[in-house]
Amino acid sequence: MKALLIRDLRLAIRAGGGFGLGLSFFLILVTLVPFGVGPDAEVLARIAPGILWVGSLLACLLSLDRIFALDFEDGSLDLLATAPLPMEGTVSIKALAHWLTTGLPLVVIAPLLGLLLNLPLQAYPWMILSLLAGTPALSVIGTFGAALTVGVKRGGLLLSLLVLPLYMPTLIFGAETVRRGAEGLPTTTPLLMVAGITMGCVALMPFASAAAIRVGLKGQ
């Protein structure tokens, strides 16, 4: 399992691996928003929690189709399926690698972008916490979407359509945590919900993803 994780991380970092793609997208999105809604600091502060969350979600979405499509094309997925690793383990590692290369950098860079959007100071800890708690769910759910569309040619758009409704609860509770944090309201409930969704997804989704991969390979 460690070998797979190291390989996926290495592939992401090497040329053409797509590392930083999500980050740049996040940066561009956040830069574009003030041009769209105007430079009014108060307006920006109000919408900052939502923009940051939606931005991370879209940045996550951008790299989902790479999770399995490349391995499927070059035959690695067949070989991984016949390897001693259980498929549930493989998809979990894939999701973890996706989170480490996409979700975690987003969490790190989000405070910087919060500055650009004039996010109130008291919201920062909540934003970092909620992203830290919520982005793993995005990776795990995204891995499920990627598993469903593994045999579909040019499945990127379909993948987005399938995954976005599944992202809704995470987004709602995540952004709500930051919004409440910004307004100085209690944040425990939404934050716990985000963490709960993540834990539930991490525990259960790999079974669904693995089943989808097996079915997808079977149909080839």
């Binding site: 592939l11 070989l79 390979l217 079977k218």
Partner: protein, 204 residues
């Protein structure tokens, strides 16, 4: 080691081969023959456990099969060594040095897989079999894009594998020079179209 009994396999929901039975014991190799589209790849995928069989049974020890497909599962950005080391780790640590040496790739080990020729990629793909440490090799057209020298090299590796108690099932069109290997023509097992009755529940 590997035994198929009355196996039917399907491609795209359509049976392609019916009633395939054979046994491959330790130290034996079986070469599958047949025209394109007869279902060699489908049968090999079924043996590797990637596809279910419609009928019959495939029996072998758990985690005994090393599958080699049309594509080698190489990552262009990783070096030859990294590629091989990865599969060795996944399968529980085969000897990478030995495999590189055996497939005559020791000189290429630090080169990115992107810069390999088709034949060199294929050799690396076959080196992967050596590091799996699994006794049953299931190979689909293993010699595609190999030159004559490499084909012989590969045949030698198969012979060594058999001599050490392994087994192999290969689908190939060319003569490997494996005189001891049995051959099985798949043409007689071509599935006949189902009757109206059988048609009913499964739609095929």
């Amino acid at each position: 080691m590997l035994s198929l009994a009355d196996v039917t396999v399907a491609r795209g929901g359509l049976p392609v081969l019916e009633g395939v039975s054979f046994d491959v014991g330790a130290g034996q190799a079986l070469v599958l023959r047949g025209p394109n589209g007869i279902g060699k790849t489908t049968l090999l995928r079924a043996i590797a456990g990637l596809q279910p069989v419609l009928a019959g049974t495939i029996a072998h020890d758990e985690d005994a099969v090393a599958y080699g497909a049309h594509s080698d599962g190489l990552k262009a950005q990783l070096s030859v060594r990294e590629n091989l080391q990865f599969w060795a780790d996944v399968y529980g640590g085969g000897d990478v040095e030995q495999a590189l040496h055996d497939m005559n790739m020791a000189d290429l080990q630090s080169r990115p897989a992107a810069q390999l020729s088709a034949g060199q990629k294929r050799r690396l793909g076959l080196a992967r079999l050596l590091v799996t440490g699994r006794p049953i090799w299931v190979l689909d057209e293993p010699t595609v894009s190999l030159d004559k020298f490499s084909v012989n090299l590969f045949a030698d590796r198969v012979r060594t594998h058999l001599a050490s108690g392994g087994a192999a099932v290969l689908a190939t069109h060319i003569d490997l020079g494996l005189s001891e290997a049995r051959e099985l023509d798949l043409a007689p097992f071509k599935a006949v179209p189902p009757t109206e009755e059988a048609f009913d529940e499964a739609f095929l």
